[in-house]
């Protein structure tokens, strides 16, 4: 009996579906596929809610525990970890309704909103670093923007499959400083280079090929972004004098206008006074 290729492919797909009979989850649909496994949407029968279920093709001991240690608004929480009857590891986590950052970036958003996303990602990263956890695979596809603007950092990488070209630091071993490189690359990705020379300088410092020339911590990176948003000088850029004056004038516009008005009034009163 001959079996067509399409039937063979269908059987292969069905065979690869996870057997969740021993769990409390009901499979709904595949929502993503990566190098280490597949992510499905599923229904939690006990709590009557939808979850994301990541089934790992390759065992990654400790990955779920690693993420579960990170309780932060910007990091997707892990609900449960276990092993399927076929031996594959899985973990259930919050199902984020929204879109990936690469899809978000295609639509027009003001600079302040884009920097808000960078800030949220940086805060989650800084928290993870404080717990001695590195992401190692930060890229737009691993950042989710929820329906209400919430930002989640996902798919915390492990050494074996870490890094994506364009966002991966050039050094061999990936650590916290490598994550800073990826943050800088994300900033360059989200914010056009023409928007501000100060922001470009921040991104260039973070993505320096020499690890020692980058920001020493995510907190330092975030502090420079803060300074930019407040109209202050940033550490990454030695701005020319004319730009410094322009920035001063922008920050003190009202005061300068009042002083100018006082000067004009004084001049007019002097020259128009009766002899």
């Amino acid at each position: 009996m001959e079996v067509s290729d399409s039937i063979v492919e269908h059987l292969r797909q069905v065979a690869s579906l996870p057997d969740l009979s021993s769990t409390r989850y009901e499979l709904e649909a595949e929502i993503g596929r990566g190098g280490m496994g597949v992510v499905y949407s599923a229904h939690d029968r006990e709590l009557d809610r939808r979850v994301a279920l990541k089934v790992l093709d390759v065992p990654l001991p400790g990955e779920a525990q690693l993420i579960a240690r990170l309780e932060h608004p910007g990091i997707v929480p892990i609900y449960e970890a276990g092993t399927l009857p076929d031996g594959r590891a899985f973990y259930a986590m919050k199902l984020v309704s929204g879109r990936r950052l690469d899809q978000y970036a295609k639509t027009d958003h003001p600079l302040a909103e884009r920097l808000r996303v960078i800030r949220r990602v940086s805060e989650a990263m800084a928290f993870a670093h404080s717990r001695e956890v590195c992401h190692r695979d930060l890229k737009p596809q691993n950042v989710m923007i929820g329906e209400f603007g919430e930002v989640y950092l996902m798919d915390w990488g492990v050494e074996a499959v870490a890094g994506t070209p364009g966002f991966r630091a050039p050094e061999a071993g990936l650590d916290k400083i490598s994550d800073i490189y990826s943050l800088g690359a994300l900033l360059q990705y989200l914010v056009p280079a023409s928007s501000s020379p100060a922001l470009s300088a921040i991104a260039q410092k973070a993505t320096s090929a020499v690890a020692g020339d980058r920001y020493s911590s995510v907190t330092a990176f975030l502090a420079d972004v803060d300074r930019f948003e407040q109209g202050l000088a940033v550490e990454a850029w030695s701005e020319p004098i004319w730009h410094r004056l322009q920035r001063f004038a922008t920050r003190n516009a009202i005061l300068l206008w009042l002083l100018a008005a006082y000067t004009v009034v004084k001049f007019l009163l002097f020259f128009l006074r009766k002899p």
Binding site: I254, L255, L258, L259, A261, Y262, V265, K266, L269, F270, R273
Partner: protein, 119 residues
């Protein structure tokens, strides 16, 4: 440094500077000392009240409005006192006083430590 102190300092300094501009007028040069003292005192009052207002209300717009109103009021009082000597300089005193008050009002809003919120 709280906002009242900020208002006090800027009020005195800007009031003194405003009074010092009387040096440009030959007819007022002999009276410059009294003008500067009076202008500094006027500025101090505007600064104190603007600083007090800034501790109560955190709004740059309202700070400028209140500061300029106070500057106008005290400048009017000085202009009336000056007019009693025979020559009136309402415009020369009130208009700059109005703007100096606006500047003091703005500075008290932007600088100084705000009052702690009551629990």
């Amino acid at each position: 440094m709280n906002k009242i102190v900020v208002g006090l300092i800027f009020g005195i300094v800007l009031g003194a500077v405003d009074g010092a501009t009387a040096l440009f007028y030959p007819e007022t040069r002999p009276l410059i000392a009294g003008i500067m003292v009076g202008s500094s005192f006027k500025g101090m009052l505007v600064g104190l009240l603007s600083g007090w207002f800034a501790r109560k209300v955190q709004s740059t717009g309202w700070g400028i409005v209140v500061g300029s109103a106070l500057g106008l009021l005290f400048a009017f009082i000085v202009a009336v006192m000056d007019a009693s000597s025979g020559k009136s300089h309402y415009l020369e005193i009130m208009l700059p006083g109005f703007i100096v008050g606006a500047i003091v009002g703005f500075l008290t809003q932007k600088m100084g430590t705000p009052a702690l919120a009551k629990s």
